[in-house]
């Protein structure tokens, strides 16, 4: 296989990249300045060299601890559990969450051979039990799919006995969307979880002490 074909194949394995786009990217690199291509290669090298999972939460970091875990202003009593590091980035972009994270590295799916031992569940229990961070609440932010829900149920069973509060992300209608375009099951969830127009926030409704931290702007 020629070097050109090989790179087309490698690009083609990236998410969202089909064979046509892969080919275009390779020709773009060949046509452009050599140092641009070198810089890309160098960036990939550096990524592999420097980035690794945070030793505490499992998100990507360039040091032993990630930026969130190192930040002294973050609320240490609050941990948000996500399936992957990508979700950490999504939640961080909201700039509404001031707690820490824990990355599971997937979700339960016996059909795919993924059980609790394949996820960072023991590490999460260890973080809570050690008491070093003083964790009071764990927010389960696994996806609302069947597998994500089962993962949340499983985690709840593991974490509740450890004496922490366990909460789950609410589900409903996306902000700014038009009701007409919301799919039936989401609308059904939203109807089932409806609340008073001007009442307490849902976090207060279940007795949260962290509301100010969660909603700090």
């Amino acid at each position: 296989m020629s070097a050109l074909d090989e790179l087309v194949r490698e690009f083609g394995r990236l998410p969202g990249v089909g064979p046509r786009t892969a080919t275009r990217l390779v020709y773009h690199l060949l046509r452009g300045r050599r140092e641009d291509a070198h810089r890309l290669a160098g960036a990939i090298e550096a990524l592999l060299e420097r980035v690794r999972p945070c030793s505490r939460c499992g998100t990507f970091a360039e040091a032993d601890l990630c930026e969130v875990c190192r930040d002294p202003s973050r609320e240490r009593s609050l941990v948000c559990v996500v399936e992957g590091a990508f979700e950490v980035q999504s939640i961080e972009k909201t700039r509404r969450y001031r707690g820490l994270y824990h990355v599971l590295g997937g979700r339960l799916s016996p059909l795919d051979g993924v059980g609790p031992d394949d996820l960072a569940v023991a590490a999460l229990a260890e973080r809570i039990e050690s008491g070093q961070e003083g964790i009071v609440e764990v927010i389960l932010a696994t996806s609302p799919s069947v597998e994500g829900e089962a993962t949340a149920v499983y985690l709840e069973g593991v974490l509740r006995p450890l004496g922490v509060r366990v909460t789950r992300l609410a589900r409903g209608i996306p902000v700014g969307s038009d009701l007409e375009y919301v799919d039936g099951s989401t609308l059904a969830e939203a109807l089932a979880g409806r609340r008073e127009v001007r009442a307490e926030t849902p976090a207060q409704a279940v007795g949260a002490d962290h509301e100010d931290m969660l909603l700090r702007e």
């Binding site: 339960l108 799916s109 016996p110 059909l111 051979g113 059980g115 609790p116 069947v146 597998e147 829900e149 089962a150 993962t151 149920v153 499983y154 069973g157 593991v158 799919d183 039936g184 099951s185 609308l187 059904a188 109807l191 089932a192 409806r194």
Partner: protein
């Protein structure tokens, strides 16, 4: 709904054609293996978007063609009564196409693709009667579950979604059991299984309960006096009589107006508690056997005959599957289809489009006569029936217009007898 126009392209052995159907219906007459059943299959495909005979989509494409396409123009017929306060019935177009390459399947309603094919189910409001229906009575419980699943997916909002979710969770839980996973890993699936299963159980039970009187009277009329018993046997132990038994009358009768989602969730709750409790109790047995032993995937509904006199008979009557004669089984199967038609009528407010595929072929003369009388009185809507000979078309006093079919080619314009 009335089927006004049907357009056929590349479907089975049927010649491409655009056919205008009379509002009262049509009798399609032709020898065997000319395409009569394929014609009814084509119409019913637009109701359930798959073959009623379980044939794979690509196998429905005519030999040598790249795709098939079916399109129906449906609308209010002569017999449609405007519902008070409801939508005025209007004309719609339902189409389905399958392309061999891919394969790609496309379903449209009024030219628009619904978000999911499931959203377009039941537009035609057709009910198909075939000689194969006897398998609903004679074969194993999976045939009857399949029947219930199709009827409810088409006519009960929220059922298909719950069923699909149930199957997905069940597959995961069974995989965990098969892997001999620890207890907690199996239990993680239980709230989801109970949640989705509760709705499946509730809707099936409600349908059977609501249909039992009709089943009884249809069997009585066709058989000339035998009383049919339709009974639901959930695949979850306990059931009627258990604490908080959800089987009490009035809990979500079918098919009255479906409750809104919030209400539905609260009606489901006792069923979910019941199922969840049974899952807890059965967990060790499930782990030993490596599979989920209870749940709606083990449901059964039985058809029986009430014995004469004081004979002690099992609850649910003498099981027709075991003890029924050929004629009794066919009668029960027919009663199920009439129940299906009744469901369509209640749900849609309009009579079902009846598709009768040579249904009288295997009934004895007495039973046929009574079935005819029954259908004539209950089927206020359009009827498309097939028969091998003119003499077999006795429906509606032979008034139905005749079409002929030969080698997949349909000749319209025949006269009624």
């Amino acid at each position: 709904m009335t089927l006004h126009r049907l357009r056929l392209q590349g479907f089975r052995n049927l010649e491409d054609a655009t056919l205008e159907l009379p509002a009262e219906g049509v009798a399609l007459v032709g020898a065997n293996a000319q395409g009569k059943s394929n014609f009814l299959e084509a119409i019913h495909y637009l109701e359930i978007f798959r073959s009623c005979r379980g044939t794979r989509d690509t196998r429905l494409i005519r030999f040598g063609e790249d795709f098939f396409r079916l399109e129906a123009r449906i609308g209010p017929g002569a017999s449609s009564v405007p519902e008070p306060g409801g939508d005025a019935p209007r004309s719609r177009s339902v189409a389905a196409a399958v392309q061999r390459a891919g394969p790609i399947k496309k379903v449209t309603v009024d030219g628009e693709e619904p978000p999911r094919i499931g959203d377009a189910l039941g537009e035609m409001g057709s009910v198909l009667f075939t000689p194969d229906d006897v398998r609903l009575v004679a074969d194993g419980p999976q045939e009857r579950r399949r029947f219930l699943d199709i009827v409810l997916s088409v006519n009960a909002p929220g059922y298909l979604e719950a069923l699909q979710r149930y199957r997905q969770v069940l597959a995961q839980r069974n995989a965990a059991l098969r892997d001999r996973a620890p207890r907690a890993t199996v239990e993680a699936w239980d709230p989801l299984l109970a949640g989705a299963g509760a709705r499946v159980l509730r809707m099936r039970a409600a349908w059977v309960r609501a249909g039992a009187p009709t089943f009884r009277s249809v069997v009585e009329e066709v058989s000339g006096g035998e009383r049919g018993v339709l009974a639901y046997q959930p695949g979850v132990p306990g059931g009627p009589g258990a604490p908080g038994n959800p089987g009490t009358p009035g809990s979500g009768a079918f098919p009255a107006v479906q409750p809104d989602e919030h209400e539905a969730a609260s009606i489901d709750a006792p069923w979910g508690d019941w199922f969840a409790g049974a899952l807890r109790e059965g967990l060790e047995a499930d782990r030993r056997r490596g599979t989920t032993l209870i749940g709606p995937h083990r449901d059964e509904f039985t058809m029986g005959l009430e014995p004469d006199g004081e004979d002690p008979a099992p609850k649910g009557g003498r099981d027709l599957r075991e003890y029924g004669s050929g004629g009794q089984k066919r009668t029960a199967a027919l009663a199920l289809r009439i129940l299906e038609a009744e469901t369509v009528l209640r749900r849609r407010g309009r009579p079902a489009l009846l598709l009768l595929d040579d249904v009288f072929a295997e009934l004895d003369a007495d039973r046929s006569e009574r079935v005819l009388g029954l259908l004539d009185r209950t089927a206020a809507g359009q009827v498309v029936l097939t028969a091998p000979k003119d003499a077999d078309v006795r429906f509606r006093h032979d008034r139905l217009p005749r079409w002929r079919i030969s080698g997949g080619r349909i000749e319209t314009g025949g006269e009624g007898g």
